[in-house]
């Protein structure tokens, strides 16, 4: 049996991604104009920053850690059955966070 828990991976990735997005705390920032990677935000002269890579890396590291350390058995069967709702809820949270783009305040 695989040591990697897909259930913990899904739940942790979704939760970590949402928290990092809401708090605007990517693991790192990337500045494509200058090709600079930084752990913290840089001044405007570095150009626009990109958070997506940092969000993916942060959520991915947290999810891989949880998936290797925690066992499926720690989750009740009912929770495992509905665990796919975690990414779905995170998607809904993203839509809420981005609502300003669509003219919703």
């Amino acid at each position: 049996m695989s040591r990697f828990s897909a259930h913990w991976f899904a739940a942790t990735f979704a939760l970590a991604y949402t928290v990092l997005l809401v708090l605007d705390l990517p693991l790192f920032h990337y500045y494509p104009l200058t090709g600079t990677l930084s752990w913290h935000p840089l001044p405007e002269e570095f150009g626009p920053s990109m958070h997506w890579y940092g969000l993916l890396a942060g959520a991915g590291i947290a999810a891989c850690g949880a998936a290797w350390v925690l066992k499926d058995g720690y989750l009740p069967v009912t929770v495992r059955y509905w665990i796919w709702l975690a990414p779905a809820a995170a998607m809904a949270a993203c839509l809420y966070v981005l609502r300003g783009f669509f003219g919703v305040s």
Binding site: F9, A10, F13, A14, W52, A59, A88, M91, L98, F101
Partner: protein, 154 residues
């Protein structure tokens, strides 16, 4: 020249991904009858589950990697132009595409697990849900990518 080539490759991978995940989503909903005469719809549903799951996972990862490679060009060339055109909704759609595409990665191991294990009463519901959710993400990302490329291509 490299970016348009990578964008084209990204689209082709996405087309393959849409075909595979849609095929499997239909199969998950209603597995084919084991015997008897098989209709076109029956054949459409009769997918090799293991092979399709591995294909979907591979294509999804390839699509994410290609998208990540061309993303900086979008950020500098396309997004700024969209903002200058006052198309905030288009920028928002792209943001949503990227976030939902990233969250699809959370589903991927779960999706692979469901298709690696036998189709039983206990896992049928989660299997259908995970497959359809992933299919929704793939279709949404594909359509949004197409619309945005029409508005302001790379």
């Amino acid at each position: 020249m490299l970016i348009p080539f990578l964008l084209l490759l990204h689209v082709l991978v996405a087309v393959g991904l849409i075909g595979a995940i849609t095929h499997q989503a239909v199969a998950a909903l209603r597995p084919p009858a084991p015997t008897g005469r098989i209709s076109f719809a029956g054949r459409y549903r009769a997918v090799n589950a293991g092979l399709f799951a591995r294909t979907v996972v591979g294509l999804y990862l390839a699509s994410i990697v290609l998208g990540a490679v061309i993303y900086p060009t979008y950020r500098l060339d396309a997004r700024i132009a969209l903002e200058e055109m006052g198309l905030a909704w288009a920028v928002g759609l792209f943001e949503l595409k990227e976030h939902w595409g990233g969250l699809g990665l959370a589903l991927l191991p779960l999706y692979a697990l469901y298709w690696r294990t036998a189709d039983t009463h206990d896992n049928r519901g989660p299997r259908i849900a995970a497959t359809w959710l992933l299919a929704f993400v793939v279709w949404f990302d594909f359509i949004v990518g197409h619309v945005l490329n029409n508005l302001r291509g790379l």
